[in-house]
């Protein structure tokens, strides 16, 4: 078991390295000279050359990359071209809304999608199952922002139940905090929910045809216990895997959702950075989001050992 854990952790190193090289290379190709931007319109070629030397932009590619990596390891993501603040400071300011949104969305989606999928598998072929499968296909085809605007139209404009957009931090009270997160979480979560419900259904359906389920049913186990204590744990590995894969959808969706609902989080920061061509911010965001994705999937792979005692690579 320890061998598996160590190997799995080591295996993330090349992935992270490739991400770092790719991210650095993409933004290295960016047109425009950051030194010229920093120096301003009136700068002489000498001043620009001095900034080049100060920032290390005159050094070869691989040296710049190593310097950049060294800075990263000290938590230095560079300086925003637009606001002139350290990128790490900008990230810390914007972190809270994004974390709140992703956590509420994950809880909402996993909490709803898994039971829905289990019930669909139990009632396979029934109208309930069809409804779930239809929802799964629809949910996967409706883009986050279309869902977002439909929700705003119905629940905020027509019914006037929830705020149209914006964010309230937890310090301003639990109720306003949650009220502002309901629609964004739903919009962001629906495609994720569709994915999880679909996999849960397929996975549980497969387990339900196995002998131990028949035995459990024969000895008169209540359905609820049968489904959630016997079937679901045995179907857990594919479900947990897809939750990990789906985190990429979630993280990408954050950028769009925060934009639709005017939530001042990391995703919104990225969108603003695109408009200003603020490359260090885009670079940093790319690294953070990919890092979270890699770590979540690492955690999930390690979780397998706990979920499924048969796994002993």
């Amino acid at each position: 078991m320890w061998g598996y854990i160590v190997r799995r952790i080591l295996a993330t190193i090349p992935v992270v390295a490739v991400v770092a090289v790719v991210v650095f290379s993409i933004l290295h190709l960016a047109p425009g000279d950051p030194a010229a931007v920093i120096a301003g319109d009136q700068a002489t070629p000498q001043q620009i050359a001095a900034i080049h030397a100060r920032l290390g932009l005159d050094r070869p590619f691989h040296e710049q990359f190593l310097v950049w990596l060294g800075n990263l390891s000290r938590g230095d993501f560079g300086t925003s071209i637009f606001s002139n603040l350290p990128v790490s400071t900008l990230f810390l300011q914007r972190l809270e809304p994004t974390i709140a949104l992703t956590i509420t969305t994950t809880l909402l989606t996993v909490g709803l999608a898994v039971p829905i999928g289990v019930i669909a598998a139990w009632k396979a072929g029934s109208w309930a199952d069809r409804a779930v499968m239809t929802f799964a296909v629809l949910g996967f085809s409706f883009p986050v922002f279309v869902i977002g605007y439909i929700l705003i139209l119905v629940f905020a404009i027509w019914l006037d139940l929830l705020p149209i957009q914006g964010y309230r931090s937890l310090e301003e009270g639990l109720w306003p905090f949650l009220r502002h997160l309901v629609l964004p979480s739903l919009a962001l979560g629906i495609s994720f929910m569709a994915l999880i419900a679909r996999i849960t259904r397929a996975s549980v359906l497969e387990v339900l045809s196995q002998d131990h389920i028949r035995t459990a049913r024969a000895k008169g186990l209540p359905t609820r216990q049968l489904l959630f204590d016997h079937a679901l744990p045995n179907a857990a590995v594919p479900i947990v895997t897809i939750i990990g894969v789906g985190v990429a959808i979630l993280l990408g969706g954050v950028v769009v959702t925060e934009s639709v609902f005017a939530i001042p989080g990391l995703g919104r920061l990225v969108v603003d950075a695109i408009l200003h061509r603020d490359y260090p911010v885009i670079q940093g965001a790319l690294l953070i989001f990919s890092g979270v994705y890699v770590l979540v999937n690492l955690a999930i792979d390690l979780l397998y050992v706990v979920i499924d005692p048969r796994i002993r690579y």
Partner: protein, 305 residues
Amino acid sequence: MSSSTRASVTEAGALAGAPPEVEPHARPRRGLIWRARRHPTVALGAALLVVMVVIAVVAPWLSVYDPLAIEALARLRPPSAEHLLGTDAIGRDLWSRTVHGGRISLLIGIVVAILATSVGLVIGLVSGYNRIADAILMRLMDGLMSIPAILLAIALMAVARASIVTVIVAITVVEVPRVVRLVRSVVLAIREQPYVEAAIVVGSRFPKILIRHILPNTIAPLTVQATYICAAAILIESLLSFLGAGTPPEVPSWGNIMAEGRAYFQLAPWIILAPGLFLAATVLAINLMGDGLRDMLDPRFAKRM
């Protein structure tokens, strides 16, 4: 779901009932139309897609107005007989803009699907063929797949000049690793097959085996994958344009129309909803086609999540 199991049961029955001397190849092949009837969702998807494609193709004749023509006196008009889907903030006809947007979306979807599957096929075959190339390429693909798709596309667009071509290239880069993984898994599975071993024993060279025996096996799963990529590309393009990192703002793509409607959503929700619903319907149609194709062709490798 139930229809697919029924189809496979009948096929198994036909096989069992066939006289033993008949080779498996000789079993009666059913036409695509027959199969489509057994999969009503596919038929629905196909019908919806045909409508979307026809609308896109005949867009210039469907649109009463020039999609770029500004009518200053008819700003933010709700849907009416004169303007089927209303007008936007500077008085452009939304119906005309939306049907033209379909052309751009479908064009990008189809081109990306073709490009990504072709590039992915070549890289995947090389990867399945050469161990050293495999080690390097797969690490690269793993890395690329660890960057959430939309963010990678945003970063690529941020360093490129906004144009339809750069959007196509950016989305292709995002989708290629998924194709490579698929093709590689097919190559690795097929090269263990007895008939491939037999071909090696009789002295066929590996490039020949790759083309004669392995390549044909990739076609079914790749077709399914290409369908999903087409849907994903249309989605990503609209997201990029919506966020201001996609096709140039003057192009009437669905994402751009929606981006322009954001400031007026409370006043004129139809600016966002009209292209949004067209977008969702198109993606839905293509996804239904993909699911149906997967069931029909039954490629064990194409279970893309």
